[in-house]
């Protein structure tokens, strides 16, 4: 508790508060804006890490993360275009409510639900993180290797409908992670001295998320504008409050644990929350025509999962969503390595970050409730400026890493890869996670084998490792069963699912 209070005193300094406000505003704006999401924004802002204090930068990124979740709900309600994959479910009832003239109530229940879920999620994070920290420190290299393996596999297999494409993405990422120097020898450097230290993860993240997405949109530029529903000040009646609080709490209960799981994300809990509310509702006939429960529950689930995501990221250094992956890159560019020793080694930073999450959440509610009509105006920015701006800031971000034109060339190459991946339906998340976790996978294996002097048996010498391998075996078996199913059934199930949505929120 003392630590948390100290965290607050850190986070409430004028500078850090300013960064929190910037983060929250930017996050909401990009959540609303088409084609830009929190992961892309954090990637574009990575240059600030070269000179801003770690606490301030991370506070801003946390604000962007929470704000993006928030802004996404605005577009899904007013336009029926979910800005984030996690807002797909919100759009179902939210847009119906807006069409029925209840846009204000839909926005209000989304905003207040997000606040409540985000706050409870952060409380859980604050309560659980210190408990998990000491447990994690005891894990040896074999366990850690197994956990990394599980995380990589889970991200690849659980999300997306085409496993083949998921693995293609993962192994491309792992291979990119190899570039650099190992035991004093160059690996995959093409004889380029500038690659000896590896490819800048910042550049890869900006290329895949920002440049690849901008090029992909550029190839599909012109189309009819969407019909936006005009909105006034968000507000709710007493009856709306009564119908909302249950879904908010249940949504939070779904969201947090799923966010904390590797490959959990927000899609599953928002869907579960929606189904639950439809079952429990006293007004089941309203579902499909704008039921407020169908907005309140999924929105809460979505924000609680964002808080949940931070648990494995801080405790294990495992990113489970695109945004978390890019925030991890930010940690690394400070030379900080989230994971077993991180929490105990940097208590001030961690607690300031946790405290700032509470602040970000409150700011979101205070700022966003009155500003909803203003945010909707952002949607009128012409695409040429929006995407020229993304290209501009992507180049700036890559160039600022070393002020070398070489990094810009790398940016372009990976941007084109990102474009091709979108064209061929290859999910981008496994690639970026492969780039980040690949080197760690190798170093943990090397460490484990060095301790055991080359005896492979050490890999399953720890209970945690064995559990991980069992889950991996189950996942693999499940995948194989899915792949070898009779072709006729597979064709029926070939409807596009979360995979295609995954990048929509970058």
């Amino acid at each position: 508790m003392d630590l948390l209070l100290e965290g607050f005193s850190q986070a409430l300094t004028p500078t850090n508060l300013l960064f929190a406000v910037i983060g929250v505003l930017l996050g909401t704006a990009v959540g609303v804006l088409p084609g830009i999401g929190p992961a892309m924004t954090v990637a574009l802002l990575l240059p600030v890490t070269y000179n801003v204090e770690p606490a301030s930068a991370l506070i801003m990124f946390a604000g962007i993360y929470y704000g993006g979740m928030y802004g996404g709900s605005t577009t899904s309600i007013l336009l029926n275009t979910p800005g984030e994959s996690s807002s797909v479910i919100t759009a179902l009832e939210g847009n119906k409510m807006a069409k029925a003239g209840r846009a204000s109530q839909a926005l209000a229940t989304a905003a207040i639900g997000s606040f409540i879920a985000g706050t409870i999620g952060t409380v859980l994070l604050v309560a659980l993180a210190p408990q998990i920290g000491p447990l994690v420190v005891q894990l040896g290299a074999p366990s850690y290797f197994a956990i990394l393996l599980l995380a990589l596999l889970a991200v690849t297999v659980v999300l997306g409908s085409s496993k083949l494409r998921g693995f293609a993405s993962l192994f491309l990422g792992l291979t990119v992670g190899l570039v650099g120097t190992s035991t004093g020898q160059p690996r995959l450097t093409f004889g380029q001295g500038q690659l000896a230290d590896g490819i800048e993860v910042v550049v890869v993240a900006v290329a895949i998320f920002a440049l690849g997405e901008a090029l992909w949109v550029a190839a599909h530029l012109r189309r009819k504008p969407l019909e936006i529903i005009p909105v006034g000040q968000p507000w709710m009646s007493k009856k709306d409050w009564r119908r909302s609080w249950g879904p908010w709490l249940r949504g939070t209960a779904y969201g947090f644990p799923f966010g904390a799981l590797p490959a959990g994300g927000a899609e599953v809990p928002t869907f579960l929350s929606y189904v639950t509310e439809r079952k429990l509702s006293k007004h089941p006939e309203e579902f499909g025509h704008g039921a407020i429960e169908g907005v309140a529950g999924p929105e809460a689930a979505n924000n609680a999962s964002a808080a949940g995501t931070l648990l494995p990221m801080l405790a294990l250094g495992l990113p489970t969503t695109a945004t978390a992956a890019v925030i991890l890159v930010a940690f690394e560019s400070y030379g900080l390595q989230p994971g077993p020793q991180f929490m105990s080694a940097n208590p001030t930073l961690v607690w300031a970050l946790l405290a700032s999450l509470f602040i970000a959440n409150t700011l979101l509610l205070v700022i966003n409730l009155p500003m909803a009509p203003l945010w909707a105006k952002l949607l009128q920015i012409p695409r040429p400026y929006l995407y020229a701006g993304i290209l501009f800031f992507a180049s700036l971000g890559a160039y600022a890493a070393n002020f070398s034109a070489f990094d810009l060339a790398v940016l372009l190459v990976f941007g084109l890869l990102g474009f091709a991946m979108r064209r061929f339906g290859i999910p981008v998340l496994p690639l970026i996670i492969g780039v980040i976790l690949g080197p760690r996978l190798e170093s943990q294996l090397a460490e484990a084998l060095a301790i055991s002097q080359g005896d492979l048996g050490t890999l399953w010498s720890e209970p945690v490792a064995i559990v991980c391998y069992l889950i991996i075996a189950l996942l693999v078996a499940w995948t194989i069963i899915n792949v070898v199913r009779p072709a006729s059934r597979r064709e029926q199930d070939a409807t596009p699912t979360s995979e295609t949505r995954e990048g929509a929120n970058l």
Binding site: P34, L178, S182, T183, W216, F392, G415, I426, G438
Partner: protein
Amino acid sequence: MTTTTPPARAGTSTTRKVVDTAQYGFAGFLALVGAYTVYDASGIEPGFADQALHPATFPYVFGVVLIGLGIALAVATARGDVAEAEEGEDIDLTTGTDLRTVGLLVLVFVVNIALIDWLGWAITGAFLFAASARVLGSRHPVRDVAIGVALSVGTFYGFYVGLGIPMPAGILDGIL
């Protein structure tokens, strides 16, 4: 296989088998990356004597898997597997892919890379913005350049004043 294709996404709603020939290209790319990784790994020495993990082990594994994935994707393509191109909030897949715009943007990018060391970010950044906006369909050259200059000079000073990082000024050295 069967005569049904996955639900029409990119306007390919035909009942006959569709082969996405461009996808062979991506399959080839995967196999090529894999092959080069294996080739590169073959030149790596064992490293230090007490190193239990050979530095070429991971490259070998990843390279071989990538070759396998490339082949698998090629086979799937031949059997009528069609990519579900990524949808997005701001993407309408029914209009087809406009490669000309993408090509022009890449050209703008290459020009930026070629000139940035000589002219400096303040100039090439403005060019990058204005030219990209033009390629993307803006019809207001004056406004494009004005915004571009404001952004590039603004970020130049933002880095200098805000972050304390002097960016190379290029040809404008001494003026900015």
